[in-house]
């Protein structure tokens, strides 16, 4: 489902003397349907950078990133927009929403964008919020004032609202208590069971061991270290 070959990335800082900072070279990765692959490596090694490149958030300097039939590294913006709507989901570490929008709308939005009937989208959103132990009294409020853990759970509910065939998870269990961590791991297992290809960053080793089938050390793609 996800195939990465010869992927390279460097940043050029035009306002700091045009410094060119290579951060990745020759990255490669394959994830099949129903498989979960963990990105590992020390902090700053480029795990999030790789994930952002797969989402099309960072521009690739070289190589190919196939998600289904689309090469993210060369795709037009509207192809990536479409891919993000129906195929590729991303749970980032930070919730970014329009202020004032109620939580249940935030979670239902990916479904509404896909044209799912409003009642069905809201029902799915509410079921996920309930599973993730967000008190019902909060559903009609904007999540901007919620605690860090609550925002993280709203973000996860939003990411799992649509059954994406490919999912990127950046620290999905960070800042969660044991009960909610269990819910998130079960959601990941369910997504795998329905055939989703998943790439995740997990600092939580026990979580990684439970849901991930393989680990890929991103440090191997650091410039100057590639074999």
């Amino acid at each position: 489902m996800i195939e990465i070959e010869g992927l390279g990335k460097s940043f050029t800082l035009h306002n700091q003397g045009g410094a060119v900072i290579p951060v990745m070279t020759g990255a490669h990765l394959r994830v099949a349907r129903g498989e979960c692959v963990a990105l590992t490596g020390t902090s700053g090694v480029g795990k999030s950078t790789l994930m952002r490149m797969i989402y099309g958030n960072y521009r690739a300097s070289a190589g190919r990133i196939m998600v289904g039939e689309t090469d993210i590294a060369g795709a037009a913006p509207r192809e990536i927009i479409q891919l993000r709507r129906d195929t590729l989901g991303y749970v980032s570490q930070f919730l970014r929403v329009v202020p004032r929008v109620p939580t249940r709308e935030v979670v239902a939005e990916p479904l509404l964008t896909l044209g799912v009937a409003r009642a069905d989208a809201i029902a799915r959103a509410e079921a996920l919020l309930a599973r993730l132990n967000i008190p019902q009294a909060l559903w009609s409020l904007s999540p901007t004032t919620f605690s860090g853990g609550e925002q993280q759970r709203v973000n996860i509910a939003r990411g799992f609202a649509h059954a994406f065939p490919a999912l990127l998870l950046d620290e999905p269990t960070a800042s969660l208590d044991a009960a909610n961590r269990e819910v998130v791991l079960t959601l990941i297992e369910e997504a795998k069971a329905r055939g989703a290809a998943i790439i995740g960053i997990f600092h939580d080793e026990a979580a990684r061991g439970r849901v991930c089938d393989r680990e890929v050390d991103v440090g191997a793609f650091a410039p100057g270290q590639a074999a």
Binding site: L13, N15, G56, N57, R59, P99, T113
Partner: protein, 256 residues
């Protein structure tokens, strides 16, 4: 899929000074494109050229019309272009007073645009006007008040209702949240996002506010000195800017 709007090689000069030059892009149905840049970068000149308010010195603005397919709006007849502006196109001005009839009631402001496309039944016009005022969160008991009696945020919402009541397919917006309090801005952003999704609108939004484009626009074009220096997916341009000017722009935003 046919692009809704195809912009080719637009240039506009004020004497020897460049307003904008070499601008081209395709906009597809349902897409929202943001145009950012500092004051004097040519973004408003470009928007005026696209929307037919200012004749460019060269270029094409090809719109996929409902009756005749893609047509260059710069060479079509004046009555044809006026009809387009009243039906398929809408323009939301930064200052609501530029887009409203200040001496006419709120209901009249919305109804007038319906009448311009042939609506004649007073009861139906009023009913639609009240429905639209509700959608932009203006209470039904304000329908007979004139816009002078409205706050800035309400005037802006009224302008949006007036523009969208005829079900346009393409909306041009010039700094739609400029000059509003942040809480009012958020409300307007939420409203615009909902309308774009529900009506399947395409939009071109000019703003200098990067937070606004991140929340509203799928794609982003960055202008400097009348030229496009960078374009791409909105979050890609903002999170991984390639051009020096964009890097400066993004790094200059105050964090809250």
């Amino acid at each position: 899929m046919t692009p809704l709007l195809q912009v080719r090689d637009i240039a506009k000069f004020y004497g020897a000074r460049r307003g904008c030059e070499d601008v081209g892009f395709d906009l597809y149905p349902g897409e929202v494109m943001g145009i950012v840049g500092e004051s004097g970068s040519g973004k408003s000149t470009l928007l005026s050229c696209l929307a037919g308010h200012l004749p460019p010195d060269r270029g094409e603005v090809i719109f996929d019309t409902q009756l005749h397919g893609p047509r260059d709006t710069l060479t079509m007849s004046e009555p044809e272009r006026r009809m387009l502006m009243r039906t398929d196109w809408a323009f939301v001005h930064q200052h609501a007073r530029d887009g409203l009839r200040m001496g006419v009631s709120a209901g009249g402001n919305v109804g007038e645009r319906l009448m311009a496309v042939g609506a004649r039944h007073f009861g139906e016009i009023r009913e639609q006007a009240v429905d639209w005022l509700g959608r932009v969160e203006i209470a039904a008991d304000r329908v007979d008040d004139k816009p002078q009696a409205f706050s800035g945020g309400m005037q802006q919402r009224l302008q949006i209702a007036r523009n969208l009541v005829t079900g346009p397919r393409l909306v041009f917006m010039d700094e739609p949240t400029g000059g509003l309090d942040v809480s009012v801005q958020a409300r307007l952003l939420d409203l615009l996002r909902g309308l774009v999704r529900e009506m399947g609108l395409s939009a071109v939004i000019v703003t200098h506010d990067l937070a606004v484009v991140r929340l509203l626009a799928d794609r982003l074009m960055v202008m400097k000195d009348g030229r496009v220096v960078e374009d791409g997916l909105t979050d890609q341009v903002l999170d991984d800017p390639q051009h020096g000017y964009t890097q400066l722009l993004v790094s200059s935003v105050l964090q809250v």
